[in-house]
Symmetry: D2
């Protein structure tokens, strides 16, 4: 029996995270880098039937006119990451993948993202037509490449947040919305619907809406397929979910938690639009109350500082009270390269989601909560607890 071929279909296929994922995937196939940063490669998960690097074929949607290679070179040049030799050796893989990329969907992405789009991106008059186009692209990719499975991953820029009162609560409600000329669902949800209707798992790596509404989760369950999300936890929020439980466990009262984030990539530019930023800030900010049991004054700011390129610096100032009401302080400075923190998690999520699919799990995968700022399918926000749940899940149903 031949080894199955697996498609990864990336929304936002030429963005920084995608490009880094592709360069890394190419290097992993060639065995020239260690598996540092890959959670699924830990000894803890060695017993799982995880997909191998050379089983993957990648395609995707993109709204900008650039090339994977150009973006990879820009990343190397502006952010001083990815060694020249590693980049060079991935050229063929990048250009092959580029040929699998199709024009994305602009439905309700908001004006800031729309401004980034190539003029030739088609605009549909109905959301359902956009879903149809997405599905044509997905089926064509699967067929042309002879893929056993396709996993869809959303890595596109953060959309403005839809008012939760407008989220469809049932699939029939959602289905009806798709036919309305003013359908308020954003592109991320159309991609999710497109994938799930075809029985393909959907991973939402971003704060955008995606498969978050109950109505879309219902679709997944109807189709016996799983999805995972929302908003990958790679830096400052990861630290919050690691440190806040310590304050709780020691009965130290967090009075305020201020986080200030600066970075210079495209994501940062999109987030300088207050509407898009609101989605992100909400996602970064909510877990403190969930973990601590009370809401400290908290503040998250995100600013685009061009000189930093893909490097993100987060400064956090935690002001807490100890015994005898004494105020004390913890400050953190996190200096990480955003795309390089995110990329291995994309590959981890694809591999874990494939295991869940194989096992027949459906709906939101709460066991993958450790990967997300706003995890679906679970209420846990503390990182250590989430990690334990993942380990337990990996051992399968008891």
């Amino acid at each position: 029996m031949s080894v199955p071929r697996i498609g990864i279909w990336i929304i936002g296929a030429r963005g920084g995270v995608s490009v880094t994922t592709l360069v890394g995937l190419s290097a992993l196939r060639r065995g020239v880098i260690p598996e540092t940063g890959l959670v699924s490669s830990l000894a803890d998960f060695a017993h799982l039937p995880l997909a191998e690097w050379d089983q993957f074929v990648v395609g995707g949607h993109e709204i900008r006119s650039t090339s994977l290679l150009a973006e990879a070179e820009r990343l190397h040049r502006e952010s001083r990451v990815i060694e020249a030799s590693v980049l060079g050796a991935s050229r063929t893989f990048l250009s092959q993948t580029d040929a699998n990329i199709r024009p994305g969907v602009l439905w309700n992405v908001g004006s800031t993202i729309r401004q980034l789009a190539d003029g030739a991106i088609p605009d549909e008059s109905l959301a359902r037509s956009a879903v149809d186009r997405i599905q044509r692209d997905l089926k064509e990719f699967q067929q042309r490449e002879g893929l056993d499975k396709v996993v869809v991953v959303n890595l596109a820029s953060t959309e403005a947040l839809l008012d939760p009162t407008l989220w469809p609560e049932t699939w029939s409600q959602a289905e009806q919305m798709l036919e309305e000329p003013n359908c308020s669902l954003p592109a991320s949800s159309l991609y999710a619907i497109g994938a799930l209707e075809l029985g393909m798992p959907y991973i939402n790596f971003t704060p955008s809406l995606g498969a978050t509404p109950l109505g879309i989760d219902e679709l997944a369950k109807k189709k016996n397929i799983c999805h995972a999300g929302r908003d990958a936890k790679t830096g400052e929020t990861l630290l919050k979910s690691v440190l806040a439980p310590m304050f709780a466990a020691r009965n130290l009262e967090v009075m305020s938690w201020v986080g200030h984030n600066i970075f210079g990539n495209l994501d940062g530019k999109v987030l300088s639009d207050p509407e898009n930023k609101a989605s992100k800030v909400k996602s970064k900010d909510q877990l403190l109350e969930r973990i601590l049991g009370y809401p400290p004054q908290s503040l998250v700011s995100i600013e685009h500082i061009g000189s930093l390129g893909d490097w993100k610096t987060a400064w956090d100032h935690v002001h807490f009270r100890g015994f005898l009401q004494t105020p004390m302080t913890l400050q953190l400075t996190w200096q990480g390269c955003d795309s390089l923190l995110a990329a291995p998690l994309v590959l981890d999520l694809v591999r874990f989601v494939l295991v869940a699919q194989e096992r027949g799990e459906t709906g939101a995968l709460g066991a993958l909560g450790s990967f997300f700022k706003s995890p679906l399918g679970t209420d846990q926000h503390g990182f250590a607890d989430q990690t334990r749940v993942l380990l337990k899940w990996s051992r399968g149903p008891e």
Copy 2:
């Protein structure tokens, strides 16, 4: 039936941690401060039969000639902690307690600690005689105050570390050492032996040897009594035990972890003696390898900076490698008041140890590992894991 009276016997009874514990205990009795910083007061432990604040009577050993009140006032003045009104209202309690303090033991404490000692502190010619004196003081305290139980807590300055090849492996070996004129056991172990022989639990809050040797643990088991230790985890090491598991769980390679600690209290002065410092540094440094599974280059420095008083500032620089071998950095600055971080843990440990004693647990209490840098009776070093074990322990044997 009357409420039991419980004695807390503190070694280093007029040191910063002890004084803060006493001021806090006085304020807790009067109900004028919230229970912030007390782990045992978390809702998670509400089901336990914990001792109440007014059950406690405190006494102890001390080698310096000063008074509790003078030390409390110095802390207030030099470190700007403890509100004037809270301090004022604890005066009576402090002077009552002062009357319960007896001259400590100088056996093998090293020259730096010896220099701090009042000239009138007796010097014994045999370790066994020192143990005898300790036990006379403990019994007299129990009797005079009519105490149902006494818990002994070591809060004294860090001793130089005894070469592990000299640690007694059996109780009979230890017993024999006590009779030798050159007995190499330090004061902290003599106090431990003194307490355990009398069937009193012993808590080692410091990096000193105390009840660490197997031979002393054997004594505890023989006497059906428990002990806990070693070296309370209050700041930088607490953070390490919280953060290192994150690097492990994300498969990020920690290349180096540098910690630089500055503070200005008596502890700091004693630690400026390289022999005493070695005990502390070892205790702060070992957990990284245990948690990560490999030893990153690590460095812990501790320096006495007088202007800081009881405030400790720790700067940590973590250099780690992510995907595609990219180096990234996390820096922490922790600004905490040492005595105020430690004091509530003293009360927590006393309360938890009393529960264990009531339950008949003997030997080193591994379930209390979350409180210590070098926990006895367990191999766990990750804080979240230790916290879960404590919670489970609190629910009692299944």
Copy 3:
């Protein structure tokens, strides 16, 4: 001949800076604190005929209904500053001064400041009437206390910035504006006009407009009186003016300079109104281009974090390029108590302005530029250069 009595008339007389100045002045008179933080007390200025602490009598305007003592106690309690004994001994001085405080002016202060005001504060229908009331208060103060001189200092909350195209360029223009029912001049300028018309020097410690317009400077010159401003340089901007010249002198290219400020006093609350904040941010941000000769990307944020009380924490991230285009980073964290950094400079400015007045200097005192973020009467922004000019000025005209 008797020693002259000098009045200090403070706008915002019960604010944090004023209260701290008064407690400090009281302590200086009693000789119980060293002159730390006072620039005018440096040996460099020992040759100047500086006013002595006991020559000063203080009064002022205030819009809130509170008392100096209540505010001083709040500062002590919430921010853990000012020793209890120092505070206690200043009670009499504070209550005497309280009796010299009159209701302030609300003309064009903006809605955020207006909300802080006591209901009984009178509202004038003409700006000129407000100026008249100010002048009655000043004259009454001078007469009643038998003062030889009065210096007016603006320490009130930051007003929204008036569009520079509306600033009066001549005194006759300004004079006319005062008679117009919609006069756009803010309260700070009315106080300035009130003082200068009476021949009293005016010091603008805040980013508000005050005597900044040329038309008001013209008034000062006509009246042969001096003024100084604008926006005291106490923390983050002080550091910028110290560090930016280093980057220039070493030909290092500053690509971006991000400053994030958090603090919890009343000033912070007022600055959470975007209009009021704009005045402050502009003042903090402009000097980089002036010093470096080019504008790096820069960003200053100011946020009100209640738990910090009067303590301000500023985090600055400077991203610069060195030889061979290598990007490097300098980060700063400044933790200072705002009122305590500001208060001695109030006393310094009053003393130096009195020297200038004695010497007959008129208009904006550029020599005092080292005290201000937006110095009037000079183009220098580098702190070392400003310091040298102050020293040279102190030696008098050559």
Copy 4:
């Protein structure tokens, strides 16, 4: 008339600073990098007759057996600095220069440095013989390359410090020492003597002794030649010399100043020998007292952390007291690439020293004090003052 050819003779010619200087010089000649980081290229010095980049020919002494190219590639690989294209284009220049490098001198360099040395390095039995060999190499370089002038620059590893009571106070004393079999002068001083006797200027970029003793300065004056030193000011100490004057000018009392330096290059390895480190720490530490007028508690630690490569991170914690005795804090984190901060200063110093030589200045050049931690020929330590002196010097004698 043809353009003069100028030799730069580097001691430690294959170390990190030298290699970076050479790659940079090559790039400057080709005009492919801007002059960022070069002080001499500021508009302020445009009026000076500075040497052009293509006038320079480089040679030097070295004790290790490696090649310039290998070292440049290591720097690129380990520290992610110097763009691949820039490095590639400098290959020819590096290999040409390599041919000009001769075996260095090991006289009194100490065991740590000696261990780095190639076995073939000759050992002299008399210091004078070592000087003779140095001079033969210098003369041969000048002759073979047809050089008008040669400037000698010491970039070699920091030697252990010679007890100041042993420094020669006159040239005749020094001359005599050279003939003694146990001559205590270190290699850096022998190079200095070698250069100065030949009338070549000597620049001491390191904390080693070099031309510091009065007896060697006397030689320079006798030979009508100039020299400059000691210990280039590139990072933490630069910041100290910029910031300490601010505390002085604001009358803020610095109670303690702690500096913790970590880095991973060869320099760091040599400095992990306590004897060598002492030279460096002394040089970094003394300026505080000079600038402030009193000695705060200060502490400088330097640690070798391999993972950092050529990147140096310095954390500074400044604890100071303001008005009403309130303690406040400034923390700095400086992340710079050591060699890239140093290299442009090497070129600056050579250019400025050539101007001084042309003008006939002799002895230690105090006007270059802004470049050094322990400046010779001046008592100024504040950076702004030093900068002003340099500017004034550049305008020539009045």
